[in-house]
Amino acid sequence: MSEHTLLWLVVLGSIGATYAWRMLGAMLSRDVNPESAFFQWITCVSYAMLAGLIARMVLIPVGPLTEVPLWIRLTGMVVGLGVFFLLGRRVLAGVSAGLLVFIALVAYG
């Protein structure tokens, strides 16, 4: 098998393995009552997973972000969230501020 074919298999296999979670979710959702305790619980599970994922991406990144020092990643995040709350929950302001500080620190820090 050529390298090219193998890589396509990895891509398609990953797509299938990801869709499996979505499909399982759709199968289970058919009979779930949005008012039920189970629904509330699995919503909490989603939020905890997303928060854990974001914290992991910042604290223990994989890929290109590993070349950025931890303090710069943390500063970008703190500035972004800080501006978001200080300006009355403005998403655009928070994200822009965090991103600009991050890029400036990577360039000149």
């Binding site: 193998l6 890589l7 990895v10 891509v11 296999g13 990953s14 797509i15 393995a17 990801t18 499996a20 979670w21 979505r22 399982l24 979710g25 759709a26 289970l28 959702s29 058919r30 779930v32 949005p34 305790a37 629904f39 509330q40 699995i42 919503t43 909490c44 599970v45 989603s46 939020y47 905890a48 997973m49 997303l50 928060a51 854990g52 994922l53 974001i54 914290a55 992991r56 991406m57 910042v58 223990i60 994989v62 890929g63 290109p64 990643r73 970008g76 995040m77 972004g80 978001f84 929950r89 998403v91 655009l92 928070g94 994200v95 965090g98 991103l99 890029i103 400036a104 990577v106 360039a107």
Partner: protein, 236 residues
């Protein structure tokens, strides 16, 4: 109450065009350039964006392939990085399944689910009639997917044209945007779940990179649910 197709599509376009579309364009530009650096073709990069449709898993694929990890382990790692789609689907589909005549549609619609559309739906659905909710979701998520594909292509061809700090900034944009998006949550149990998940995520990842995220969700989510059991729902 938003109860006609016209109003629904306009609301979805208003919510998606602008910030979410811009974020996806930018962050998928980061992925496109990473994909090219990792040796993927444009076709593979676009398939990955449309097929996996979740940046952490996409980045894991490109990274691990570039690092020479064997095929089966790459697939396993990508799958586990995307396990969140299971609880996300179960906490989302029941809110809009009343809007389709045949439930089978949900098996197609669930492919468009991402943090963006999940958060937008949970926020906006209370104002939208149940019959109109699938339209809102498809329009919103469709715009997001289109922006993501355009971004992937731009990044794929634009790699090298960008300065390194800017390229790294695009990748950092993801956790930053998700953090701000979720920080806007106002429901008590959801906030507790977020606060519990933040320390558990890195700790469990350190204990087990494969199963860390699942454990974070199950243990952190259950803890938040239990704390608020008698005080109110985990939903806005």
């Amino acid at each position: 109450m938003i109860d006609t197709p016209g109003k629904t599509y306009r609301q979805a376009a208003r919510d998606a065009l602008g910030f979410p579309a811009l974020m996806l364009l930018a962050s998928m530009t980061g992925f496109g350039s990473l994909a090219r650096e990792s040796g993927l073709t444009l076709g593979m990069a676009l398939s990955t964006t449309a097929g996996i449709w979740g940046l952490p898993g996409q980045v894991a694929l490109a990274e691990m392939h570039a690092a020479g990890v064997s095929a089966l382990f790459v697939i396993l790692a990508v799958s586990l990085a995307n396990a969140r789609f299971f609880p996300m689907a179960v906490s989302f589909i029941p809110l809009m399944r009343g809007g389709v005549r045949r439930y089978g549609w949900m098996f197609a619609l669930v492919q468009l689910l991402s943090i963006n559309s999940w958060a937008a739906g949970i926020r906006r659905f209370p104002e939208i009639a149940v019959q109109m909710r699938p339209r809102y979701y498809v329009a919103f998520a469709g715009i997001c997917m289109l922006s993501g594909l355009v971004g992937t292509a731009i990044g794929f061809y634009g790699v090298g044209a960008m300065s390194r700090p800017a390229a790294l900034g695009l990748i950092f944009l993801n956790p930053l945007f998700f953090a701000v998006l979720l920080a806007g949550t106002r429901a008590g149990p959801a906030i507790t779940a977020l606060l519990v998940g933040i320390p558990l995520g890195p700790i469990f990842h350190w204990l087990s990179p494969e199963w860390g995220l699942l454990a974070t969700g199950l243990i952190g989510g259950s803890l938040a649910f239990w704390i608020h059991r008698l005080r109110g729902p985990c939903h806005e």
